[in-house]
């Protein structure tokens, strides 16, 4: 029931916001929904940690991994949500009330889709939810409706859609592998993992290729990451924070669910060729990912890392999305690192532990990355007309430094 409550909070908030007319009302709903989701999510997560997985109907189910994801989504969602109120006040005056409405409604929808993705047991529904995250955010990326925003949003949409469609292909194949073995079956992860040992390894492997490419696109793995720097740098700061802090993790979460199944199926095969094959690929991609991260460094040799400082000093000299872009390349690298650890894991059980550990390690980074972004963007808005004094910005540097502690 808690799960349902958790999901309904952002969903209802989204609906209510799209119906409301007054800005204060929207803000109020938005803030209370953000905080509410955090509280409910926290209670839920604590409960799961101390006890068994929670499920409602066949569709919703949350185990420890989900609980962890719920915490991330709800927490970053709440922080970014509160921040978003101030942010939108700066960005949109009352003449753009429609945009504000759109912003808040989509923000909540975005949170809803992510929460759904991590709490559902049904792999199909998970797919739908993850595709939903794309659809919810695409207008947010283009909220300013300018050339670059449009370009980023279009690329984001088309690449993500194509990628996620491939993930669906993988889901279908996985479903096929299950039905071929045991006949009619729900497309649920619990049932799948139950019969995983009996699945046809070849088909599961094929399915996993599609999953890897598909959800890999969403998780920003190279070379499917190309949308990432564009979209993250064009989106408004709170959305960037959510996308980096959480969305990539959600993609990875989906990948991990399938990985668990694949690992069991391939338990015998694992040490042999099959493993080597896809590990070689992931290893290659890891290298590529790092080469890739060199890109912004090469772009301006002393530049990007000091974007935060530079923002304060020379607003004109810095490409205006400098820091967010760098952060995104960093995200990409962090994801790559996690995948590498997935690769290194020998057995399925250990894999889960290892990758979760990595994720734990990654989480503060993600989170701080989000902070960095918020601060960085704050500077941007500061130069767009924010009447902050130098002192105020100073404290932001400190916050950014907390964030900086995490990135990398």
């Amino acid at each position: 029931m808690m799960l349902l409550l958790l999901l309904s909070i952002p969903a209802m908030a989204s609906g209510l916001i799209s119906l409301s007319r007054k800005r204060r009302v929207m803000e109020w709903i938005h803030a209370s929904a953000s905080v509410g989701a955090l509280i409910v999510g926290g209670v839920l997560a604590v409960g799961i940690r101390d006890g068994a997985p929670v499920s409602s109907w066949d569709i919703l189910r949350a185990d420890a991994l989900s609980a962890f994801m719920i915490m991330i989504v709800a927490f970053v969602g709440a922080v970014a949500g509160i921040y978003a109120i101030g942010y939108t006040r700066l960005e949109f005056d009352d003449g753009h009330i429609a945009r504000v409405r759109l912003f808040y409604a989509l923000f909540q929808l975005f949170v809803f889709t992510m929460l759904l993705a991590v709490t559902t047991d049904n792999l199909g529904v998970m797919w739908v939810a993850i595709e939903g995250t794309t659809l919810a955010t695409v207008f947010l990326v283009n909220i300013h409706d300018n050339h670059t925003g449009l370009e980023a949003a279009y690329k984001y949409l088309i690449i993500s859609s194509v990628g996620i469609a491939l993930a669906f292909m993988g889901t279908v194949l996985m479903y096929y592998a299950a039905t071929a073995q045991v006949g009619e079956i729900g497309l649920s992860w619990t049932s799948l993992i139950g019969i995983a040992a009996r699945l046809d390894p070849k088909i599961v492997k094929l399915a996993f290729v599609f999953i890897l490419i598909g959800y890999g696109t969403k998780a920003g793995l190279a070379p499917m990451h190309t949308w990432l720097p564009d979209a993250h740098s064009e989106a408004p700061a709170p959305i960037s924070a959510l996308m980096s802090g959480v969305l990539l993790n959600v993609g990875l979460y989906a990948l991990m669910r399938f990985k668990a199944v694949t690992d069991i199926t391939h338990a015998g095969l694992f040490e042999r060729r099959a493993h080597r094959d896809h590990s070689a690929w992931i290893g290659l991609r890891w290298v590529l990912g790092y080469a890739w991260r060199a890109v912004p460094y090469g772009e301006s040799r002393a530049g990007q890392i000091h974007a935060l400082f530079a923002f304060r000093q020379h607003p004109a000299q810095v490409p205006h999305h400098g820091d967010s872009r760098r952060a995104w390349f960093d995200e990409s690298g962090a994801m790559d690192r996690i995948c590498l650890s997935l690769r290194n894991s020998r057995s399925a059980g250990f894999a889960a532990i290892r990758s979760v550990h990595q994720r734990v390690h990654h989480f503060p980074r993600q989170f701080c990355g989000a902070f960095c972004c918020l601060c960085g963007d704050r500077y941007r808005s500061a130069h767009l007309g924010f009447r902050g004094n130098a002192r105020k910005r100073e404290s932001h540097v400190v916050w950014a430094s907390i964030g900086g502690t995490g990135v990398r």
């Binding site: 890897l212 070379p223 190309t226 734990v360 390690h361 002192r391 100073e394 540097v397 430094s401 900086g404």
Partner: protein, 675 residues
Amino acid sequence: MLNSAAMLTLLAASLMLFAGGAAGALVFDRESGRCRRMTHGLALCGTVLVLILGIAGLTGNSFELLLPRILPLAGGLALGLDRLSAFFLLTIAVGVIPSTLFAVGYTRQYRQEQALLGFALNVFVPAMMLVVLSRNVLTFLVFWEAMSLASYFLVMTEKDRDETRSAGWLYMVMTHAGLACLLIGFLAMLQATGSFSMPEWARAAEGVDSGVRSLVFLVMAAGFLSKAGAIPFHVWLPRAHPAAPSHVSAMMSGVMIKLGVYGLIRIGFEWLGPGPGWWGVLIMIVGAVSALLGVLYALIDSDLKCLLAYSSVENIGVILLGVGAGLVFRSYNLGSLAALALMAALYHSLNHTVFKGLLFLSAGSVVHVTGTRITEEMGGLLKRMPHTGAFFLIGSLAISAMPPFNGFISEWLTFQSLLLSFRVPEQFINLVFALCIASLALTAGLAAACFVRAFGITFLALPRGQAVEQAHEADWTMRTSMGLLALACLTLGVAPVLALRVLSGAVNEFLGAAPDLSFDWSNIAAASAFGTIAPLWVAVILALLMLAAWVGLRVYGANFSRRYYETWGCGRAVQTADFEYTAAAFANPFKRVFAFLYRPVEETEIEAHSESRFFVKTITYRHESRSIIEDSIYAPIVATVRRLAAKARTVQSGNVHGYLLYILAALLTLLLFAK
């Protein structure tokens, strides 16, 4: 004796003080003065607790703490205190306390950056402390990172300057690279032993393939050496230290780089289990090269803080000689010699913290009042800043290993442990040691020359610039902190028994072998009577003899009248600062002798009057020397990376069709591969 609960309370209390300082920095970021006093005051109090903790640890108290709820999946937050950790806690405290006190007065100039400075300081110090206390991988990495990043922000205090930004950038890159090395090593050990806990590695290491361990050692040594600033990983150091505010330089140079040595000691002697002799030989070679090149670059640098930074490279080299010798001795089962060598290294690292802190702080006061770091523009400061000058002189004497100051004792110990290498039954190793002795000796001589130059050009003779003539003495907090350090230099030099006692305990516990050294207040003897010294008596007798000389002259009835007259200038009428020997000129003989290394580029332009070429109007002399390491190692790497990055840029072409093509290609490749 304190029990473990009391120790933990101390730890918690110091952490709370730092947390309070950090919070204060954020809360009072509008009130510069209050922010400054509060953050530094709290950091100071916290560090005093660290000092107590360190002393308590050195007297045999210890604790283990495991908080499985924090960082739950990696074995929890694991802290522990043994004597080695306690010794480094002591080093941290000894370096940080005076620097922080100094900063109270010194950072008054940074009005805008108070919040950042205070915050980063209050993260930096506890992070260093916790690095030393970390007992598992994740704990270590988290605090290692926090330390690196906090120091990065401290370096970036004067971020408005291009020079600082590029220094910070370089520092970041090197830290990154070092961290990557550490990560690789940690992951490999994790894989090999299946444990997150480093003490457990030590137990499991015997079972790990020695090739793997050697590889891990190489990689992790590179990581730690890059933090320690050993050549060839030193490039960030001479840029970052000058760019940082002086108290930060003192902490980084005096304390932070020692944690690289700490890590090296841990992996070399403990975490990776017993290793082959060549580990130590490698470290010794790195140490010898660092010491020699470090001092050679220091010798020709005209930037006062840069000079000190290079001298840190040198001292790290000296420390590494001790560490490496210890590793070699241990691999030949010469436990007591290993302990002696390690003791020398640790003592030198403590001493370096003291005198380098002193030098950086006094250099900081000089830079603070003159507004320049270039020694060529200084001169005559001893008359205007008598205390600071005296402190700098004491620091210079100590760092040049002059008796009766502390540098001499640790260098003497290092020499003894190197000389005792003849007990190693391997001719190749003996020769390596002989060369290391030579390089250490040359280093010592050059260091003396270097600091004669640093002190002489900066503080003696006539002022060379306007800014220097208006210089004034530093304020009381700054002088107090320098005075504390100067006192420590002398104390550790005349009464080394204080430090040796705790050190031999620490080394004994760490290596399980007592150092081959006997000592009391009046005498230190290495390897029974191989080498003896009586530092206290040397100091006392030297002082008495100097006094005796003066008294003797009085008694004899020498002429004590004195007359002041201008310096003889070859018959010139007026003696001005222009006739003074410059820092560049002082370094010139060395430049010529070591020209192969410096590869100096010199240009002389002489403009003559039109009437005759013998009437010179102006002479412009430019000289520049190049770093052989940067030219031959880093420049190619940077060029390659830049070229590759430029190529890689084309991948992010902006064309959505291209992007989709990547995915299609990836899909097809994978499908065909996975078949």
